[in-house]
Symmetry: C2
Subunit: 333 residues, 2 copies
Amino acid sequence: MPITIVDVATRAGVSKTTVSRVLNGKGEVDRRTADRVRAVITDLGYVPNARAVNLARGRTRVVGMLVPALTWPWMGEVLQGAVDVVESEAYGLLLFTCNRGDESMRRFASQVSARSFDGLLVVEPEGTLDYITELHRRGLPVVLVDDRGHQPGFPSVRTTNEAGARSAAAHLLHRGRRRPLVVTGPRRFGCTRERTAGFTEAYAEAGLPVAPDRLVEGDFTFECGRAAVRRLLTDRVDFDAVFAHNDLSAAGALQALRDAGRRVPTDVAVVGFDDLPLAGHTHPPLTSVRQPLREMGAAAARALIGHLAGKPLPDPPTVIPTSLTVRASTGAT
Amino acid sequence: MPITIVDVATRAGVSKTTVSRVLNGKGEVDRRTADRVRAVITDLGYVPNARAVNLARGRTRVVGMLVPALTWPWMGEVLQGAVDVVESEAYGLLLFTCNRGDESMRRFASQVSARSFDGLLVVEPEGTLDYITELHRRGLPVVLVDDRGHQPGFPSVRTTNEAGARSAAAHLLHRGRRRPLVVTGPRRFGCTRERTAGFTEAYAEAGLPVAPDRLVEGDFTFECGRAAVRRLLTDRVDFDAVFAHNDLSAAGALQALRDAGRRVPTDVAVVGFDDLPLAGHTHPPLTSVRQPLREMGAAAARALIGHLAGKPLPDPPTVIPTSLTVRASTGAT
DNA sequence: CTGAAAGCGCTTACAG
DNA sequence: CTGAAAGCGCTTACAG
């Protein structure tokens, strides 16, 4: 039913080869022949079958993308950045998650083996780095959007976790805050260590080392931020600022402060990390270190597709800097 | 380099046909032959090339999914529901957005023509319903996740906007709220009309018709909720409840109430719609009509894949009911 | 139970 | 400038 290259060839009175040539602009074709073929193509509304083209060419013009879950608040930004680039390069994006655990990874692995895509974009599902590394070693082009500070042995795109945390510290110091509380992410993540290091070093350099009991390990949830602040208030630990490793836990901190009757930012200034839309809607709006999520997704896609087109991959990780978005939670007017 | 069916056939001393048969479990094959072939397959780690299989079979085993944008707060849930089903059925999901406008739609259209996927899941980008309808008319299997109350001329999955709004009204009435304010979505959306109808009818039936000046058209943003409440307070309109057509505008309403010194829920009870994670993190936590977003995505994927497997599509839209999540903004303890 | 051959819809040397 | 033929890696009648 759908029309094929044979239909076009027959109607135009030429061979498939010639049709293919005008389709791909390869080789010399007589002007008049080419015009005739083109006329038939538009006339019939012919579009080459992607599967057939790809089989013949030995590639799919599809990139796979593997992410841990689609419901995380910042995943949409990364995805959108990647999709925008993939689309504009006329590639397709095949999406995988490992939401269903091992079963998901098995399905994913089978698609890898079946060569369903030419290259892979990945926001690493926890615990799969070795597997991804192996895929890369076996020849699958891979670019990682490194949200965890892994710095893996293959191309990746990351942000300046350390410098971002430093900028938060500098901002709080500038506002005269001398006793910050830090609510971190899980300690096993590189990004947590980087953000902690950047922040504490900046304070130490200002002659105000952050005592260990002011570093509370969290897990990036609203609840962990709330619980940490509540507990330290109960313990009568004195602090005039909170630096949370993401916006969600910062929002939790804001709530605990409000519940305890502390004024933000007068009594306690609060800074988050990510700068998601929610940062603009907290009460008061949250100062936050902006992660360039969409840009990271886009940069990873660009690097991968460039590589598929023959360009070398950047060897050191691509680094896209954070920036500080100042809002009322640290005293912006 | 990658090994093919020919490698397996040669090594096992049989024809490609036989290998194909044991691969697909079709036709009779001698036990011992089959075992030998299977041994070679695992030995070589052979996996059939998906493109080749699909070309030979005339289908892709991929479904396309078109969404307006990936950064909307509820899109991740719909996507996750769809991806879970698609993966478990061993299909692939090719993702498209129209984030880049006409150019995006052109790219998408070319993938449709190139038969890059067997069927389409769509959360309709505004203004593309006619185009999608045309695709469906031309024979592309399509299932719509109908978030706008379109009730289109092809299979779709929707929720109970009207009943959901009614449940919000019933809940507020039960709490003794007699003068509600409604912050709606854009009037051109069917879902806005349905939610408005359900809510106002329930109040009218209770002998408390909602006056037109208490129906404020919004646009689903935080700001519209805030602005609406602020303006009505300035105008000294008297109200003891707010029903917002989504959680974001409800959060904006909460903020305006707090800024004006109104207590929630004592002075004003607030109900949102969607029941996104943010509803649990507002101050106070927000009572909300839960949209079964993930279930909607999953149901749409199930219907589509079932159809591709030969099952008939459900003719009337699949309807997945809302439910009411009660939190402190209406007085839960 | 098994295989040779044609076919899926293209591309690409190779020959003219 | 153009075409016949082989090939991409499978599946599927058809024949035995």
